[in-house]
Amino acid sequence: MKLYDRIFKPRRYELANGKYVEEKFTRLPLILLILVICCVISVKVTGFDMAVLVKRSKYFFDMLESMFPPATDYLPKIWEPLLDTLKMSILGSFVGAVLAVPFAALAASNLVHSKAVVFIVRLFLSIVRTLPTLVCALIATYIFGLGTMAGTVAIAVFTFAYVAKQLFELIETVDMGPFEAMEAMGSTRIRTFWTTVLPQILPTYISVSLFCLEGNVRYASILGYVGAGGLGLIMNEKIGWREYSSVGMILIVLLATVLVVEWTSHAIRKHLS
């Protein structure tokens, strides 16, 4: 940045009182240059071709067209996998969110003074978060067998990592006054956490968990692809058999469910804040 300022000289203004202020030259050209270089490399690597897109984009709607009209007679067979998906996401989100609390407390630098513990817990959380959910689900199917259990585990792991990250950032911003007061009165650390920190973070914690639940309902439909139960399982099956009208029906049911879950959780979150 210093070199950049030397090439593009900052502009100097003289103020009324005889002092000088400098306005640095805009960084925009540099940022644009970097973005353009990244774009060019990406276009090269991915083979992006506008001509193909324009010429063949009508094929995109092939599958959509064959999904309509959706097969309504397939509807009765959707309910069970749909309930499975809902169960998986609710239980997974709950277990993950509950497990996240102790880890978030350990990763918050204002509660734990040992830098080593904070670092190790945070590294662990980062690694769990970067682990793709699909990989988790696939490993879970090897361990727990095909079915909803594997999906529940994968969702719980994902929720755990996401909620713990949000939560420890939240814990670091709480008001530490009551915490110190309780500690000074000789209360144990767990009791102190329970009575002073938890009430402060509770509304946001529940809201984050609900937000995660919303995403999980949608995500649970992908997990079926690797055999982890739920809507994805029948969706994968129907795609394999090219029964696209059934796939359309599944997607409509999924959309309705997601909208209902989102609306409910939105209402609860509004009530909380």
Binding site: F60, L91, F94, V135, M149, M235
Partner: protein, 269 residues
């Protein structure tokens, strides 16, 4: 002092019936979803498989990890990075008009409602279905992956964009009006500075997510590191899975670190 505390304590609202009811409802929901836990698939082999997986993951295959050809981990990671990057940009380009059309403070309510429903519908379709659709357009490969990523990004990106647009401070525009600015000047000095940092921050966050979700594309053969990862997993080559995962995790951690730096810089101005 103590009396005051006791009085305040007594006057505190007693909401235990509501709390009890909420707790009861939650317990019922949990008990119902507990039926998803089916342990009959678990057998003695499960623990052995888990041990093999762990052993493989902590002993990554160095031949794959440091292979510089197009089949090696570094090139696959580059490809994934490029898919996520261009996918985010294309998604952003589509999201901007869509979110302006769905912001309740700019357009009539019915139009905003339609826009929001469209966004929710786009979000609901799982990534692998988009992947299958795009493969018909472009054939298998990273191009299809990039288009899938961009369509998947639209949902979340436009949701965040809408929130930014609805939080716009209109008083600035009024004062610019009063100072006699042209429409272009109003956009340049009144709207862009308000939206730009939030938009960039959203996009960088989404780029992070796209990088992490890119494995899903491998399911349908839409390029990136997902396909080799899933092939390696379904053929139980855990050393290769380890190599790919190590590469992916390191890349994601580095990108996350850089993006959090940029985002804090953006929010502080």
């Amino acid at each position: 002092m103590n009396q005051k505390i006791a009085k305040a304590y007594e006057e505190a609202p007693r909401s235990w019936p509501v709390k009890l009811a909420v707790a009861f409802v939650i317990a019922c929901i949990l008990a119902w979803s507990n039926t998803a836990v089916v342990l009959k698939g678990v057998n003695a082999g499960g623990a052995g498989v888990a041990g093999n997986i762990l052993a493989g993951i902590v002993h990554p295959d160095p031949a794959l990890l440091f292979n510089l050809t197009t089949g090696g981990v570094p090139y696959l990671l580059l490809e994934t990075l490029c898919i996520a990057f261009l996918g985010t940009i294309v998604g952003a380009v589509i999201s901007v008009p869509l979110s302006f059309l769905s912001a309740t403070n700019l357009v009539p309510k019915w139009l905003a409602a339609i826009g929001r429903f469209a966004i929710a519908a786009i979000r609901t379709v799982p990534a692998f279905i988009y992947g299958l659709m795009f493969i018909r357009v472009t054939g298998p490969g990273p191009f299809a992956g990039l288009l899938t990523m961009s369509l998947c990004s639209i949902g979340m990106v436009s949701k965040m964009f809408i929130e930014c647009i609805e939080g716009l401070d209109k008083r600035i525009l009024e004062s610019l009006d009063a100072a006699g600015c042209t429409t272009f000047q109003k956009i340049r000095y009144g709207i862009l500075p308000q939206l730009f940092p939030d938009f960039m921050s959203t996009l960088i966050y989404r780029f992070d997510m796209n990088l992490r979700d890119a494995t899903v594309l491998g399911l349908v053969g839409a390029g990136g590191i997902g396909a080799p990862l899933i092939f390696a997993m379904s053929s139980y080559r855990w050393n290769q899975v380890g190599a790919i995962l190590v590469g992916l995790i390191i890349l994601v951690l580095i990108i996350e670190w850089i993006s959090s730096k940029i985002r804090t810089k953006l929010t502080r101005g």
